[in-house]
């Protein structure tokens, strides 16, 4: 395994080891480029994962303080937990469910397709479906996505069977077990899914793709990648020419270290990435690095989400088997006659008793609430994931008074729903309930959005430097050798779960970075 010197200024420093950072690190290493990947969290292997919701959360989740503001319900119920994401090697790909969907072509052109939506800061992506198609294909092959590359889809579990029966009964056509980056048969030296039902807690079988046990060890095997866990980057430094030169990070003893770099890629997920750029202010960059246009931290998106849980007369046992076991795609289309632009997917979801108690209806108590939990094994559930509107005021900022253990200001997450988000969620709740009513639900319940699992858009990609933070390659408009490699690049959210797109963008970015380096342009 490679080990690079702190003063080695020929290395690429990648910040974060999740979907974006882990993939980029491996892709660069495969091309013979030396990479130091700094990861704030610890390194746990499959055997360390715990089949227990709260214990696993304590092991893997980002629990360091964050603050919230705005009218979203999360700010009231979970004021210090705006997002449910991971702080560990592998990032949120340890927790993720595996749903891997391509954007629809029109979603790359949200402004053009949806027109001028009042209060929304929509722009088009500077790339399109045709350009992304080959990168998507590489990502699906890498991740072993079912329903692509001749890989069979997963078998449906009980939760899926209920969804399928209800959805087809009310006329939905595109209902299947999804495109999942979970092995339905052994592949890539990993076994197939044993239907544990703990996908959100780290897949102990290794059937589900995670950078932790795919990209990262593969990169390490090349001798060109060094991953340093327990290393939180606090600041990115630059020289008088405005090029970045290295990072200051706190190591596992909490000691500050300085790692030099030729090029830096930020992939800390959409709350931490802008936090780090904002915290890297200097006299040359008074508002933070790459923030000349003032867009760093703005246009934070989290998908329009919500869940519908239904209780039936007879048992379901929804928790058995893959957590996200199937999908209804019919509502993902663009059809403003429904009263909103953009579309949404409905995907099965299950929580165990501990999380169900916490998230079904936060703050609720009494018999109306326990009626559902008493019938936990008779429940089926789905999750709504739809495109939310980017808004300038939905934003990551540095807390003026709260600091973390290393003295770094914590991130504040401000979010208000756009009226389009509300209209979409209302529609989706109704359709979700209709699916279950069609197969005899005794009662359905509309669960409010959980703390954000999809965090996007806070360093958005734009054609013009005045409209965003990075260009079509994820390279910051302002600093040539500084890149953003995670979901914070998203110009708009689309209706699909984001990770396949994050991975495809990272593969493409690695290709471009290697070219720039070879031509000595960075």
């Amino acid at each position: 395994m490679a080990k690079f010197d702190l003063t080695d200024d020929s290395v690429v420093v990648v910040i974060g080891s999740g979907a974006g950072g882990g993939t980029l690190s491996n892709e660069l290493a495969q091309k013979g480029i030396n990479v130091v990947c700094l990861e704030a969290g610890g390194r746990y292997e499959n055997s360390d994962f715990i089949n227990d919701e709260w214990d696993s959360f304590a092991q893997l989740a980002w629990a360091d303080m964050r603050t919230t503001s705005g009218s979203w319900r999360v700010a009231k119920d979970f004021p210090n937990l705006p997002a449910w994401i991971v702080k560990a090697v592998g990032g949120s790909t340890t927790h993720w469910a595996g749903a891997s969907l391509r954007f629809q072509d029109h979603e790359w052109k949200a402004r053009t397709t949806y027109g001028d939506v009042k209060g929304a800061a929509l722009i088009d992506w500077p790339i399109d479906g045709a350009e992304m198609a080959p990168w998507y294909a590489k990502a699906e092959d890498k991740m072993g996505t079912t329903g692509t590359n001749g890989i069979p889809r997963l078998p449906g579990n009980n939760n899926f069977k209920v969804l399928h029966a209800g959805a087809t009964k009310i006329g939905y056509k595109e209902v299947h077990t999804g495109n999942m980056s979970i092995n339905s048969q052994p592949r890539d030296d990993r076994t197939s899914c044993h239907q544990l039902g703990f996908c959100f807690q780290g897949c102990k079988m290794g059937a589900k793709w995670s950078t932790l046990y795919t990209e990262i060890p593969k990169g390490e095997q090349t001798g060109h990648l060094e991953v340093r866990p327990n290393s939180q980057v606090l600041q990115i430094e630059h020289n008088a020419k405005g090029k970045v030169t290295g990072v200051v990070y706190a190591d596992k003893e909490g000691k500050l270290q300085r790692q030099a770099a030729r090029l830096i890629a930020v992939a800390g997920n959409s709350i931490e990435s802008p936090r780090l750029l904002l915290n890297s202010h200097s006299t040359m960059f008074p508002d933070g690095l790459a923030n000349g246009s003032g867009h760093v931290g703005k246009h934070y998106m989290r998908h329009t989400t919500g869940s519908v849980y239904a209780v039936f007369d007879k048992p379901v046992h929804m928790y058995r088997g893959t957590t996200m076991a199937g999908i209804v795609k019919d509502e993902a289309r663009f059809d403003p006659t429904r009263g909103f632009v953009g579309g949404y997917e409905m995907e099965t979801l299950s929580l165990g008793v501990p999380f169900m108690a916490a998230f079904l209806n936060p703050g609720a108590w009494g018999r109306d609430f326990t009626w559902f939990l008493d019938r936990y094994d008779h429940m089926a559930g789905l999750w709504i994931v739809g495109e939310d509107m980017p808004q300038e005021s939905n934003r990551i900022t540095l807390s003026p008074d709260k600091k973390d253990a290393f003295g770094m200001p914590v991130a504040n997450v401000h979010f208000d729903d756009h009226p389009n988000d509300v209209a979409m969620r209302t529609h989706a709740y109704k359709q979700g309930a209709a699916i279950y009513d069609a197969v005899g639900a005794l009662k359905t319940f509309a669960t409010p959005p959980y703390p954000s699992t999809h965090n996007l858009g806070s360093n958005r990609m734009s054609e013009k430097p005045a409209d965003g933070v990075v260009n079509k390659w994820g390279q910051t408009h302002e600093v040539k050798n500084l890149f953003v490699s995670d979901g914070s690049q998203f110009t708009s959210g689309a209706s699909e779960n984001p990770t396949l797109t994050i991975v495809a963008l990272a593969i493409r970015q690695a290709h471009h970075v290697a070219e720039l380096m070879a031509k000595n342009e960075v």
Binding site: N51, D52, W54, P155, G156, N157, N158, K161, V162, A165, C193, H194, Q195, L196, G197, F198, K204, M205, K314, P315, V316, H317, Y319, R320, G321, G352, V353, P354, M356, A357, A358, G363, W365, G366, R367, F369, T370, L373, D374, R375, Y376, D377, H378, V439
Partner: protein, 175 residues
């Protein structure tokens, strides 16, 4: 379809019809009865403790659950309060709840026989830090008890049992 027996029952045939396995066995394990706590609480008297147990059940009522689950939860919350700097939160809260009960029904909270009358008393303190602490902490102190999960039909950890691939992940038979 493989079912989890959620009900505490002595009917042997009912038991035999359900699957063996840790979950099912835990589900039929005898519920402890009686009203004594496992041990005394640190921040409330024995009387106060009984009030908290009753209150816990009224907040998250599950008729199927024995008092022992609520007692364990209250003990957890008490330990939590000891560690924090608000050691009188629970004892003051019990006092306030009893005062509310006195006002409404002329008796202590635990002595109000009717659940809806107790709820009326509870609602008068719903906005208090005490209520918030009790309700908020119960979410984990109650529902994160592993022994409770099978009572609600949840089987917990599955890796150690080979997952559900051979244990009914797709065994629904009534659709």
């Amino acid at each position: 379809m493989r079912i989890i027996d959620k009900v505490t029952r002595v009917d042997r045939r009912g038991f035999l019809k359900t699957t063996a396995g840790a979950a099912a066995i835990a589900a039929i394990a005898p519920a402890t009865s009686g009203s004594a706590l496992a041990g005394p609480l640190s921040t409330v008297s024995a009387d106060g403790a009984a009030t908290l147990v009753k209150m816990a059940r009224d907040i998250y009522p599950h008729d199927r659950l024995a008092d022992s689950f609520y007692r364990t939860a209250v003990t957890t919350i008490d330990a939590d309060v000891v560690a924090s700097k608000s050691a009188t939160l629970l004892s003051d809260g019990v006092k306030a709840l009893d005062e509310a009960a006195q006002k409404l029904k002329g008796t202590r909270y635990v002595d109000i026989a009717d659940e809806s009358d107790r709820l009326a008393a509870l609602r008068t303190i719903e906005g208090s830090a005490f209520f918030a602490k009790m309700r908020g902490s119960l979410v984990t102190a109650l529902y994160n008890q592993k022994e409770l999960w099978p009572k609600l039909g949840y089987e917990g950890s599955s890796f150690d049992k080979g997952g559900y691939i051979e244990r009914g992940f797709n065994d629904i038979d009534w659709l």
